[in-house]
C-alpha cells in the first residue's frame, strides 16, 4: 500500500479546502470500500481526509415533508431510523440487505453511493480493465461476467454498480447535495451516475474534489407501501445478482402511482421509467406487471453468461408488484 497522510476534517469548508489543495487526496468515510481497495493497490491516495467527524450525521425532516439524510449517517443508523422505516420502508430494507451488521455500522451514505464495482478484473491490478486503467480493454466481456450488466453497458465496460441503498434511493427520486471550493450543488440521483459509453472510468457527475454533504428525499406518499427485494447466491451477506425497489398505489384495481428501480443490472441503479409509464393507469394484475417488465427489459443486451438476469428481473418485478397489489386490497 502506498504511504499516505491522514487528517480529520471538522467542518465542511475545511474538508473541501484540503481536497482542493491536493489532487491526490481522497475523502475517507467508513473506509469499507476505500481501505479494501488501497490494500489491493486499486486506489493509491496520497492523503486521506476523514469525514466521520463532520456535522453531517443527522436525519432531519425538510420543510416540504421530505427527509434530509447527512452524508456521514451510517448505514445502520439510516436503516434504524423510525421515519425512514415508516415512510420509505424500501430504503430501510435495501440498506439492511447490504453487507453485514459490522460493515453497516462503519459504512456511510456518501461512501455507499461512491463505492466501486465488484468486477473481479477491476479489483485485480494485474489484469486489464478499462475502468481502472483506461484503454487497456475489458476482459469481462469475453471472460467472467455472470454477474455483469444487461442494461446500459457498452463495449468498453459491462460492470454493475453494487449498491443496494442506491437502488431504493433511485426509485424514491433522491437528490445528492455536495460542496466544492466553488460552492454547493445538487444533482438528482437519476443523473448522478454517468452513462458508460467510452469512458467507464468517469463514474459520477460530481465535480472534482466535491464532498457529498447529504441526500434529500422528497415526500413520496406511495413509498409508504414500498419494498426492496434482493436475489443473491447465498441467503445473506452477498452482493445482489438482481434486486428491485418498488412502490405501488392501487386504486379500484388500477395503478395510480408506481416507482420501480432495478439493481445489479447496470453501471448505475436502474430506474425502470419505461415500465412505470406502462403501469400507470393500467390494471394492477400480474399480466400487466409482466408486460411492463418486458418492455423495460427489451433494451437488455445480455452476454453469454448473464442472460438469466433478464428472466430473473422479469419474475422479480411480477412477484414484488403482485405482493404490493395484493396487500393494497387488504
Amino acid at each position: 500500500m502506498r504511504e499516505f497522510g491522514y487528517q480529520r476534517a471538522l467542518d465542511v469548508s475545511g474538508a473541501v479546502a484540503l481536497l482542493d489543495a491536493d489532487p491526490e487526496a481522497r475523502f475517507l468515510g467508513g473506509g469499507t470500500n476505500l481501505v479494501d481497495l488501497m490494500k489491493t493497490g486499486v486506489e493509491r491516495p496520497a492523503r486521506l481526509v476523514d469525514v466521520r467527524e463532520l456535522p453531517l450525521n443527522r436525519i432531519e425532516a425538510t420543510e416540504d415533508g421530505g427527509l434530509r439524510i447527512g452524508a456521514t449517517v451510517t448505514n445502520s443508523d439510516l436503516a434504524a431510523h423510525p421515519e425512514v422505516r415508516r415512510r420509505y420502508p424500501a430504503l430501510a430494507q435495501a440498506v439492511l440487505a447490504g453487507a453485514s451488521g459490522q460493515l453497516r455500522n462503519m459504512a456511510t451514505v456518501g461512501g455507499n453511493l461512491l463505492q466501486r464495482t465488484r468486477c473481479g478484473y477491476f479489483a485485480d491490478i494485474t489484469s486489464a480493465c478499462n475502468k481502472r486503467s483506461p484503454g487497456t480493454g475489458c476482459p469481462a466481456i469475453e471472460g467472467q461476467h455472470h454477474n455483469h450488466a444487461i442494461l446500459g453497458a457498452s463495449d468498453h465496460c459491462v460492470a454493475t454498480h453494487p449498491s443496494d441503498m442506491g437502488v431504493a434511493l433511485t426509485a424514491l427520486d433522491a437528490r445528492v447535495s455536495y460542496e466544492t471550493a466553488d460552492g454547493p450543488g445538487e444533482i438528482p440521483l437519476a443523473d448522478f451516475y454517468l452513462p458508460v459509453g467510452q469512458t467507464p472510468h468517469l463514474e459520477t457527475a460530481l465535480p472534482p474534489g466535491a464532498l457529498i454533504t447529504g441526500v434529500t428525499l422528497p415526500p413520496v406518499p406511495v413509498a409508504a407501501d414500498s419494498r426492496y427485494r434482493k436475489v443473491r447466491e447465498r441467503a445473506s451477506y452477498a452482493f445482489a445478482i438482481g434486486s428491485i425497489a418498488a412502490a405501488l398505489d392501487v386504486r379500484d384495481g388500477v395503478v395510480h402511482d408506481v416507482r420501480l428501480a432495478f439493481g445489479a443490472v447496470a453501471s448505475r441503479p436502474w430506474r425502470a421509467g419505461t415500465a412505470e409509464s406502462v403501469l400507470t393507469g393500467a390494471p394492477a394484475d400480474a399480466e400487466t406487471f409482466a408486460a411492463a417488465a418486458e418492455v423495460e427489459l427489451a433494451a437488455a443486451r445480455p452476454l453469454p453468461h448473464n442472460g438469466y438476469k433478464v428472466t430473473l428481473m422479469r419474475n422479480l418485478a411480477v412477484a414484488v408488484l403482485s405482493e404490493l397489489a395484493e396487500e393494497a386490497t387488504r
Binding site: Y6, V35, R47, A80, R85, Q93
Partner: protein, 180 residues
C-alpha cells in the same frame, strides 16, 4: 509539502490508554495484534468478508481489518479481552462455552463480539433483513433463530459450528431479557 505518513496517537482499548506511533497504513486489527499484543482478535480474510476481526468501537461492532488505527483515535475500543468482568465471563462467552458454540475456536472472538452487539441492536429495536415488517409500528420481532442467523451473517465459521452458535446467542439473549 508531502503530508506526514505516520502519527503519534492514543488508543483507548478495554478501558486502558495506549500511546503509540503508527504508520497510517496500520489497521486497527494489526495495531491490536502486533503492537498491543492483544491477539484475541483474529485475522481471517483481511478484506471485511469473514468477521473474525470483529471488535466494538464506541459500543458498535466493526471489522477491525478495514478500520484504520489512526481513525480510531478518540474512540473506545472493546476487544474479546475486555468483555468479561474480572473472572466472570460475559453471558455470551458463557453461553458459547456451555453450548459448544465453536470447534477450532478461530472465529469465536469475532462471533462473541458480534453477538454481544447483536443483542444490543435488537434491544434498541433495530430491524434486520429477516424482519418481515420494518415499520416501527410493527414492533420489534423476537430474536428468533432466523433473526439470529441473519444478524450474525457477517461472521463466517469455517468449522460450520453455526447450529450451536445460534443456540448460544439465543440463550444469551434470553438471559438478558430475563435480567431486564
Amino acid at each position: 509539502m508531502p503530508p506526514s505518513t505516520s502519527s503519534d496517537l492514543t488508543l483507548s482499548v478495554n478501558g486502558e490508554k495506549y500511546t503509540l506511533t503508527v504508520d497510517h497504513r496500520t489497521t486497527l486489527l494489526d495495531a491490536l495484534r502486533e503492537r498491543l499484543d492483544l491477539t484475541g482478535t483474529k485475522k481471517g480474510c483481511d478484506q471485511g468478508q469473514c468477521g473474525a476481526c470483529t471488535v466494538l468501537v464506541d459500543g458498535r461492532r466493526v471489522v477491525s481489518c478495514l478500520q484504520l488505527a489512526v481513525a480510531a483515535e478518540g474512540r473506545e475500543v472493546t476487544t474479546i479481552e475486555g468483555v468479561a468482568v474480572g473472572e466472570r465471563l460475559h453471558p455470551v462467552q458463557q453461553a458459547f462455552l456451555d453450548l459448544d458454540g465453536f470447534q477450532c475456536g478461530y472465529c469465536t472472538p469475532g462471533q462473541i463480539c458480534s453477538a454481544i452487539a447483536v443483542i444490543e441492536e435488537h434491544a434498541a429495536g433495530w430491524p434486520s433483513a429477516a424482519t418481515g415488517d420494518v415499520r416501527p409500528e410493527a414492533g420489534s420481532p423476537p430474536l428468533s433463530p432466523e433473526e439470529i442467523r441473519e444478524r450474525m451473517s457477517g461472521n463466517l465459521c469455517r468449522c460450520g459450528a453455526y447450529v450451536s452458535i445460534v443456540q448460544a446467542v439465543a440463550r444469551a439473549a434470553e438471559e438478558k431479557g430475563a435480567v431486564a
